[in-house]
């Protein structure tokens, strides 16, 4: 039987109807009158209220961060970005794409030309009205030969951008792309105020809910509500403070002593202890974040698909999810598409641990036993070294001897990843299939970390990208998931949940976006105190 607290918090989160709540409380022995009062009190708490200063402790953040969206990389600066900036489009709590600064958009039948109509009268924090020129300048900030933007790969498909009057922007792409409006939600592509075709990228001024008041990279950022913010049902806190707390123990202490109201990235080893505190809540969302083990398919022995299959059968995914993620995640199926992606193929069979099948594939490849090196460091993800050692144990049963090489965290992404033949890696994932596949699986992708080339896959990728019929797309993306699972160069054992904790007074809507941590990192705009 549920306790009264559980009922109340389920109701506050909108998981119960009035009837269900009353039935539950009377079952617990409360009279109808008492239950009704309780219901009203809880429902009141579930209605957003204005006020308060939200203090968030974030595990990322560095002295080298800047307000220029082209350089954004870690969670601290991204959270500030999502709080202070607006984008053409937005992904809501249910994972659907909804308009933000753009009011509507439409594509030409071949999905090559996209016309965005902007919302009227939205103001930047400096009082300037958002118009089409700002959009063009903001996107151009990432384009061009000398671009140092981390989003260059995302805006590369754009051939030309032009305006049609004050409120219309027309994008001409190099090829059809049905997901283009989704790409416009990338966190780098903030719409900034422009002057003479150039944006002032480092001022921090945007059209978002909060104004950046005091920016001290590596330490904290203070935010103040934008008085003329255009969304009337958002931005409930008066102010915010986003603090860099790199050490997870310090972050946990800060939350339990009330120094902060929300923390990200709980320590999975101790999160069950944190859950015992009655004035805190631990919550999680499962999105597209996954941990991967990419092999260089251009390097022996990984150029042989039987070897790759043998390795895919040789890991016990359930054990890894239980041990490394302490259950806060789901097993992966050797392709990067998560359950929250629109075209996730639910019919695709789940690969399981099978040493005999692994042995069979080794034999197919013409070897009895296999000895290989696996490079690992916790820079790839927390627990990556432990995961590699577990894998070694599992694979030993299939006659595969994995030699785990511990690499330094420092310089992992420049010296190990995409350099060593086999290593641990992580991906935040992408909200659409095309985005994920064209980032890391297409033959010409800059981050094709398996150096994988598959003609059928690459053909399907181009076809599906320009296809506007959702049924046809679902078929194509389904087949691509199958191809990556069975022929791709990557072992994807698990999808990791985002696990975060907050003080009990912090409230949010029923559904939280799982695209990133903390409600798509939009918590400053979406959450409130009761």
């Amino acid at each position: 039987m549920k306790s009264i607290q559980e009922l109340e918090s389920a109701l506050a989160r909108g998981q119960l109807t009035r009837r269900q709540f009353l039935a539950g409380t009377t079952a617990l022995g409360f009279s109808t009158a008492v239950a009704t009062t309780m219901f009203e009190r809880t429902v009141q708490a579930a209605t957003p209220k204005k006020g308060g200063v939200m203090r968030v402790g974030i595990g990322g953040g560095s002295t080298t961060d800047s307000l220029d969206p082209a350089t954004w990389e870690n969670q601290w600066i991204q959270l500030i970005g999502w709080s202070s900036q607006n984008y053409l489009t937005e992904v809501n709590g249910k994972g659907e794409l909804v308009p933000e600064l753009a009011e509507s958009w439409e594509a030409s039948p071949d999905a090559v030309t996209w016309t965005f109509k902007l919302r009227d009268g939205v103001e930047f924090q400096n009082g300037k009205t958002v118009d089409a020129d700002d959009v063009v300048a903001s996107i151009n900030h990432h384009r061009g030969e000398d671009s140092t933007s981390a989003a260059k790969g995302i805006v590369d498909p754009i051939e030309n951008i032009e305006t049609d009057g004050k409120n219309v922007v027309i994008f001409a792409l190099k090829g059809g792309s049905a997901d283009f409006p989704f790409l416009m939600n990338d966190y780098h592509l903030a719409i900034l105020p422009s002057k003479d075709g150039k944006v002032d990228a480092t001022s921090g001024i945007g059209a978002g809910a909060y104004i950046v008041e005091d920016f001290d990279p590596g330490v904290r950022c203070e935010l103040k509500r934008h008085p003329n913010f255009w969304k009337s049902d958002r931005a409930f806190f008066d102010a915010g403070e986003v603090i860099t707390i790199g050490d997870v123990a310090a972050r946990t202490n800060a939350l339990s002593t009330g120094e902060i109201d929300v923390m990200d990235r709980c320590d999975l080893k101790t999160v069950h202890l944190l859950k015992r505190k009655s004035d805190l809540r631990v919550e999680e969302t499962s999105g597209t974040q996954h941990y991967s083990i990419p092999m260089r398919t251009d390097t022996p022995p990984f150029d042989n698909n039987d070897i790759r299959l043998a390795l895919k059968y040789a890991i016990d995914r359930d054990a890894v999810v239980q041990t490394i993620l302490r259950g806060h995640g789901t097993v992966g199926n050797d392709h990067p598409i998560g359950r929250s992606n629109p075209y996730f193929d639910t019919g695709l069979a789940q690969r399981t641990y099978d040493p005999d099948k692994a042995k069979f594939h080794l034999k197919q490849a013409g070897v009895e036993t296999l000895q290989i090196d696996l490079s690992a460091a916790d820079a790839a993800f927390g627990g990556a070294v432990d995961a590699a050692i577990l894998y070694k144990e599992h694979a030993a049963k299939a006659g595969i001897d994995i030699n785990v090489i511990r690499e330094p965290n420092d310089g992992y992404w420049s010296d190990v990843w995409m350099k060593k033949p086999w290593c641990m890696c992580y991906w935040g994932g992408r909200p659409t299939e095309d985005w994920m596949f064209s980032t890391a699986y297409a033959e010409d992708a800059g981050w094709n970390d398996t150096f994988w080339k598959n003609d059928r896959f690459n053909k399907l990728l181009k076809q599906a990208r320009a296809e506007l019929d959702t049924n046809l797309r679902a078929d194509m993306y389904g087949e691509m998931q199958l191809i990556v699972r069975d022929e791709g160069g990557v072992v994807i054992p698990m999808f990791a949940n985002y696990v975060f904790a907050m003080a009990d007074k912090v409230q949010h809507e029923e559904h939280m976006s799982a695209m990133w941590d903390l409600d798509g990192l939009r918590m400053m705009e979406r959450w409130w105190f009761d």
Partner: protein
Amino acid sequence: MSKILTMVAQRLALGLLTLFVVSLIIFLGVELLPGDLAEAILGQSALPETVAAFRKELKLDLPMHERYLDWLGGILQGDLGRSLSNQREITELISGRLANTVFLAVMAAVISVPLALTLGVLAALYRNSLFDRGINIVALSSVSFPEFFVAYILILFLAVEWGLFPSISNVNFDLGFWERVYRVFLPALTLTLVVVAQMMRMTRAALINLLASPYIEMANLKGLSRSRIIVRHALPNALSPIITVIVLNLAYLVVGVVVVEVVFVYPGLGQLLVDSVSRRDIPVVQACSMIFAATYVLLNLTADVLAIVTNPRLLHPR
């Protein structure tokens, strides 16, 4: 007196030379680390062409000695340059952090130095008593644990269990003095526990050493009280080793607090240095290291001068 001045001048010149060598070592050391700022900043999401463009913009494509000389030239004109990563003036970047670090160090010193001296004198006074043994055990155990352990124990009891002090030292310049002292108390206490043992033991040892000398025996025979003998007659003569230990510990309070800063999320110079090393922001690394090196050199010099002033015999080595 002029001899002292000559000595100070000599030491200063030597100090500058040390700083120059330090800057070279730092530069070469960071140069040897894998990866550079362009790669560190763009992280996993770096496209090769973006990295190349970034390097060019930051002048990382220039040869190493050119970059070093460029930076050295700036320093000699009093210009620390700009951070490569976000183009902020390093002077501005560092001044706030340095102020924080110094504030913490001063606070730790204000607690630990009088405490150590008093305890040391008392321990010498009641040598081999229960009190002497007790504080020795406490001081030695607190110095034997790693700093982060001491810090977490303090957090566990004083912040989490009893809620007396905040568990993170979230300070900024808008805070009033006492609010700042309150928020910095736990890290200062941690540092105190770490440094007090050495200073106290040195005070005690130096005093006990002197207590065996003939003039103390004389004072004893005159019938002076034990505390008067120690404070008036022995302590002034024991000052020079004590000062050396105290000053070296003060230097440690400035340059050795990295771990404490991380645990308490304190925005000091140590964290800035760690951040900049992991991001390969060489100008900032150099600037921080130079400040640390200069602190050490200067405090060492102060220790020598003070030791000589309190014991002029050291000027004439035999």
